[in-house]
Symmetry: C2
Subunit: 303 residues, 2 copies
Amino acid sequence: MPQFNDTELTAAVIKSFEGTPNPRAKFLLQELVKSLHEYVRKTDLTFEEWDYAIDFLTRTGQKCTPIRQEFILLSDVLGVSMLVDAVNHRERDGATETTVLGPFYVGEHKETPPGTDISAALEGERMFVQSRVTDLKGKPLAGVPVDVWHADDDGFYDSQKPTYATQGPSSRARFITDADGRFFFRTILPCSYPIPTDGPAGEMILQVGRHAMRPAHVHFLVNAPGYEPLITHVFIEGDKYLDSDVVFGVKDELVAHIEKRTDPLMPDGKPAPAPWHLMTYEFRIKPGHGMAPKPLMAATEDA
Amino acid sequence: MPQFNDTELTAAVIKSFEGTPNPRAKFLLQELVKSLHEYVRKTDLTFEEWDYAIDFLTRTGQKCTPIRQEFILLSDVLGVSMLVDAVNHRERDGATETTVLGPFYVGEHKETPPGTDISAALEGERMFVQSRVTDLKGKPLAGVPVDVWHADDDGFYDSQKPTYATQGPSSRARFITDADGRFFFRTILPCSYPIPTDGPAGEMILQVGRHAMRPAHVHFLVNAPGYEPLITHVFIEGDKYLDSDVVFGVKDELVAHIEKRTDPLMPDGKPAPAPWHLMTYEFRIKPGHGMAPKPLMAATEDA
């Protein structure tokens, strides 16, 4: 009959995963048990605290919807997302730096013609974005889908608004690079904004006295076949939260100088409405595999 | 401008919790960050694995309902619940051993008259349970509420069945100890059963090649004012899963010999329907505080 003291218990739980068919899944699960048990032992976690954790995790899961991912947000504010990014991108080889996906990516965006104003319906200072995708040697890559998304002038993503279901995407689109690797579009200058604080992750941040702000940025997801997917942001130079991003996502190389312009024409030769901003940023991507969302556990079933 | 390598990142995240008002919450959060980051670094967790974890946690949260707690089940099968139990009960001082609460406790049960057959509507071998609650010196404790619950002959708790909302509790009740600390009731002999495998925790157990079974048991929750709440089971001697309980919950002292009886009368003098079983088990509880469900974070708001 088993009768475990606390260290015997840990050994028994680790052993219970011995038969996991997939060796990687076995390693991850056994290390997870070690890590969770060490945490409980080191903190002498009380029942009330365990109960709080169960409730916190439950509320986090229940806050998720197809267009809101509260567990990603939690991973972000605990620095876990950026650490996963760091351990997977130790060697950049000159490729553009990466940062968090964030909780507001809603899956593949709708392909949109070059130059489209993706924030046409929104108030805000107008911005023209011109960009190019190349390989590590600077060779332009044509036909590459690039998903872009950013918050509006009030700091909200389209998917956070009740009108999203009926009005569809705003400040969110997919562009395809041309023969010269280029893509361009119109939008508004994004502003810094708080992460949502109406869920467990944001509430926790406020309760511990952290601010909830992210510096202004535009998200880019470049996913070319035969290349490593590039998940990144371009940040707006001068933002007051660049030094204290709540999700630890800022990297020097990702901060862009945005030019204030008064030219009557934008770079594609069409009229500019008023003074406008120009964001110019190029992406270099490295060889690799495209997105491979095959779940780990499914892999064990195949084994 | 911050530009973190992976160890600088961990230090920055830990520092971000420096202003947490409640010292205990600060310690728990900073240790959590260390633990999560060490796990990611040690495993070189890939994006696909991180993504799998996010999805797994989300599905776990979304499987929870007011009468089903999938995160508790996950904590149980990872041995975390029993470890929290162990680190909080290092000194028993002769008090009855504790075990997991499990995912099927639905809150305070309905007070029920002594001797009631709590499984009257169910098929199964009849069992009479007689018990007593005392302090550490053996002094009987009167007026103590004791919640009891167990699975039916098919291995399901009442709350797992679609009829629960309309038919109310079955094999689930609260008894109050009499002047001599005693309580007794009728029910059926429970059987071993699988944890639910239609959610992420149970699916994981099957995918890694573990069995999902728990040995037969009756849950007891003894909650007397001025005493430590006793959360435990009494297991049925001879069950084939006593050595491999999927939630690691068995302790020698909690295994009871169940007598097979043919007496025409049960211990309360009422007729026995047929051969029946007798469970006799006494609970000793130690001084302490009753259930104190005050959440940790709420405490920081008061500070």
